[in-house]
């Protein structure tokens, strides 16, 4: 099946009348996403691609009963928008917005934790269950249904690796971008647990990057709890010390958070580590072949290293 999102998920898009919100609503609808409502204060009564727009989340809920929110509002409006969703009892909030102040994220996460709601993001491409529903901004054509779970700190690398999996005939059960900020709503090990419990996920790919200690904490979880094989790739081997590379998260401090440290920790925890993105697929293929006792009819890839 999948994690977080399934065929029963009913979506409300917050910020639906904005330039990005309306375009992405159309893209999501094309992928079969059940968008039942949208919210933009002051734009109640409009429709966007046939979706009714309400002035507030509570009003939207009174009419359409969504059980997930996808948020496309400017950074300064992210906290009030998420607060509204939490207050309306929405159990899953996907905050796409990039550039949300970290203090706002801390407060949103604390509010969500109090009521047991799950926040994904901010700065996330969202969640996709290929062939079922897409709650986010990822280019859907790169994703195919299957049994590999993907957790990624980077949006674009989740596209690259999912696209390579698809090209190799390996579909994905669910692909989740956790978000690139120093504080995110849901961390890697929570998602690993969900994939561990999902009967239709056979293996999990973890896409990490330099900075922070999320990978290190995830490695601990893999060593202690995870029963399914995990393959990891970490970007940023060549990032100079102390330099900020785009994401607030992608900064290496002396000694900790470097790609080399993360890889060492993963290897100690029994995670299979790919040296470059295209090796991820080879490693997953090998593991799944072993599990199914050799060839399962999927086309075998030839190795294509750079040298």
């Amino acid at each position: 099946m999948s994690i977080l999102v399934n065929a029963e998920t009913r979506v409300c898009v917050q910020g639906i009348t904005g330039r990005i919100g309306s375009t992405q609503t159309e893209h999501m609808l094309r992928e079969g996403t059940k968008i039942v409502s949208g919210v933009t204060p002051g734009k109640g009564g409009m429709t966007v691609a046939g979706v009714p727009v309400f002035d507030s989340m509570s009003e939207a809920q009174a009419h359409t009963q969504a059980n997930a929110a996808v948020v496309f509002v400017p950074p300064s409006a992210a906290e009030p928008a998420c607060n509204e969703a939490i207050a309306a009892g929405i159990p899953l909030i996907v905050l796409i917005t990039e550039g949300v102040p970290v203090h706002s994220t801390m407060r949103i996460r604390a509010r969500a934790e109090k009521v047991g709601a799950r926040l994904i993001g901010p700065t996330t491409p969202g969640v996709i269950v290929p062939g079922c529903q897409k709650l986010g901004i990822m280019p859907a054509r790169l994703f195919t249904p299957g049994s590999v779970g993907v957790i990624s700190r980077s949006g674009t690398l989740s596209y690259e690796i999912s696209g390579e999996l698809s090209a190799a005939g390996l579909g994905q059960s669910t692909v989740v971008g956790i978000g690139a900020d120093p504080v995110v709503g849901t961390d890697i090990q929570t998602l690993l647990q969900l994939f561990n419990d999902d009967p239709d996920t056979a293996a999990v790919i973890l896409v990490g990057e330099v900075g922070g200690n999320q990978e290190e904490r995830a490695a601990e979880f893999v060593a202690e709890t995870m029963q399914k094989p995990v393959v990891a790739y970490v970007a940023g081997h060549t990032v100079p010390l102390g330099v900020r590379m785009g994401h607030a998260g992608a900064i290496v401090a002396g000694g900790t958070g470097s790609a080399a440290d993360k890889i060492k920790t993963f290897e100690r925890a029994g995670v299979h580590v790919a040296k470059q993105p295209s090796q991820v697929v080879d490693l997953v293929q090998e593991i799944l072949d072993k599990q199914t006792g050799g060839s399962d009819g999927k086309k075998k890839r030839t190795s294509k290293s750079l040298d």
């Binding site: 990005i20 992405q24 950074p75 300064s76 990039e98 550039g99 949300v100 102040p101 970290v102 203090h103 706002s104 994220t105 801390m106 407060r107 996460r109 604390a110 509010r111 491409p125 901004i137 280019p139 054509r141 790169l142 980077s154 949006g155 674009t156 690398l157 596209y159 690259e160 696209g163 390579e164 090209a167 690139a180 120093p182 504080v183 995110v184 961390d187 896409v207 990057e209 330099v210 922070g212 200690n213 999320q214 970007a235 940023g236 081997h237 060549t238 990032v239 100079p240 330099v243 900020r244 590379m245 785009g246 992608a250 790609a259 470059q276 993105p277 295209s278 294509k304 750079l306 040298d307």
Partner: protein, 375 residues
């Protein structure tokens, strides 16, 4: 954005955290006149954003105004661990009885502020934590509630600090600064407990979350000043991140993770000339400016563009790349661009003379780029 010590102290002073008397000087004469006004022995401190100033000769204790001038003349030209000194802070010397540590950071694991207190201040707190973990007290704070005055006092008591009232109040005020200024780090090391029981912040570390700067217009000039590299400044103006590097291959990528992965792959055979991440706001103008910024690198042997069309309208961005190609680009340009509107994007780029690699693998695009650049 990391603030200088004197900027942090100005904020502390406004928020009721006592700071030493003093002022920043940018030349020897200024240092002499500040020291004369203060009277008595002073300390002259390099204003740089890196740690370990003292060990690099960036902090000098002197007895007279003339000596303060000489100290300033000695410190101002210093390059401390790669960073040019931006001025010197000339301050009164304090009759210190005890040095304690107060710090507030954000713990990514719990998503909450973490308050750290220790009676062992004045040295690197990581060293204290490693050698005497029992000397470091910490607590996670509910960001919806903040740090209550009683909770601040309790932490000070737990840390074994005797000046409970004064240090507790300073910690409570420091949390106020942390919350009000959207800080990623707010630290006083050391907070000096004086002979008479008063406390004074002898140092200030304050880093403000860049994404929250829209709430703090008072830092506008300061933000602009932090970009020493004019190319980085131009990129930032459009929401892009640019870091100049020493190699030959210019990079334009539509995500930080993808950008770093591409850098890593180039690193196998050559070196990137830059890191450039477009962010999620690609337009025709933005990618044209990205091209011009990357082209400014003197050693450039090629440009590699790696884009995904998810939130980004890459077909519009391709028009900007074509605009610059039309102006004449003397190095080979290779692009990989996948996702929404990829066929339109490819058509525009190919017509403009860009080599388009249609594989999903960044490895292929890197390989093509290095071959074309003969590296």
């Amino acid at each position: 954005m990391r603030l200088h010590e004197f900027e942090g102290k100005a904020i502390f002073a406004q928020c009721d955290i006592p700071t030493p008397k003093g002022q920043v000087a940018y030349c020897r004469t200024e240092a002499v006149s500040i020291a004369t006004k203060l009277g008595g022995p002073v300390v002259v401190k390099a204003q740089v954003l890196v740690g370990g100033r003292g060990r690099s000769g960036g902090i000098l204790l002197v007895d007279s105004a003339e000596a303060a001038g000489r100290a300033a003349a000695e410190i101002l030209p210093l390059n401390i661990r790669g960073e040019q000194t931006q001025g010197v802070l000339v301050e009164e010397q304090l009759p210190i009885a005890q040095e304690v540590y107060l710090g507030i950071t954000i713990d990514g694991a719990t998503g909450r502020p973490a308050v750290v207190v220790s009676a062992e201040g004045g040295v690197a707190i990581e060293d204290v934590a490693a050698k005497q973990p029992e000397a470091v007290v910490s607590a996670h704070i509910d960001p919806l509630v903040g740090l209550a005055p009683d909770a601040a006092r309790d932490l000070v008591i737990q840390a074994g600090i005797s000046s409970v009232d004064a240090v507790g109040k300073a910690l409570w005020n420091l949390y106020g600064v942390f919350a009000k200024y959207d800080a990623l780090i707010a630290e006083i090391n050391p907070l000096a407990v004086l002979d008479d029981g008063r406390v004074v912040a002898a140092d200030a570390v304050l880093e403000i979350d860049d994404t929250a700067l829209f709430k703090h217009p008072e830092f506008k000039a300061r933000i602009e000043a932090q970009f020493a590299d004019p190319l980085a400044k131009r990129a930032k103006a459009l929401g892009m991140t640019y870091v100049g590097l020493d190699g030959q291959i210019g990079l334009i990528c539509s995500g930080a993770g993808l950008g770093m992965a591409t850098m890593d792959l180039i690193g196998n055979r050559a070196q990137p000339a830059n890191f450039l991440e477009t962010g999620g706001g690609i337009t025709r103008e933005l990618l044209a400016e990205a091209m011009r910024i990357v082209l400014a690198h003197p050693e450039l042997k090629g440009i590699l563009i790696n884009l995904y069309g998810g939130i980004n309208p890459i077909h519009e961005g391709a028009l900007g790349i074509a605009d610059v190609m039309e102006e004449g680009v003397s190095v080979p340009v290779v692009a990989k661009a996948l996702g929404n509107f990829e066929s339109e994007t490819w058509a525009t780029l190919e017509a403009a003379g860009v080599t388009v690699v249609k594989s999903i693998e960044t490895e292929r695009a890197v390989s093509e780029m290095l071959n074309q650049a003969s590296l």
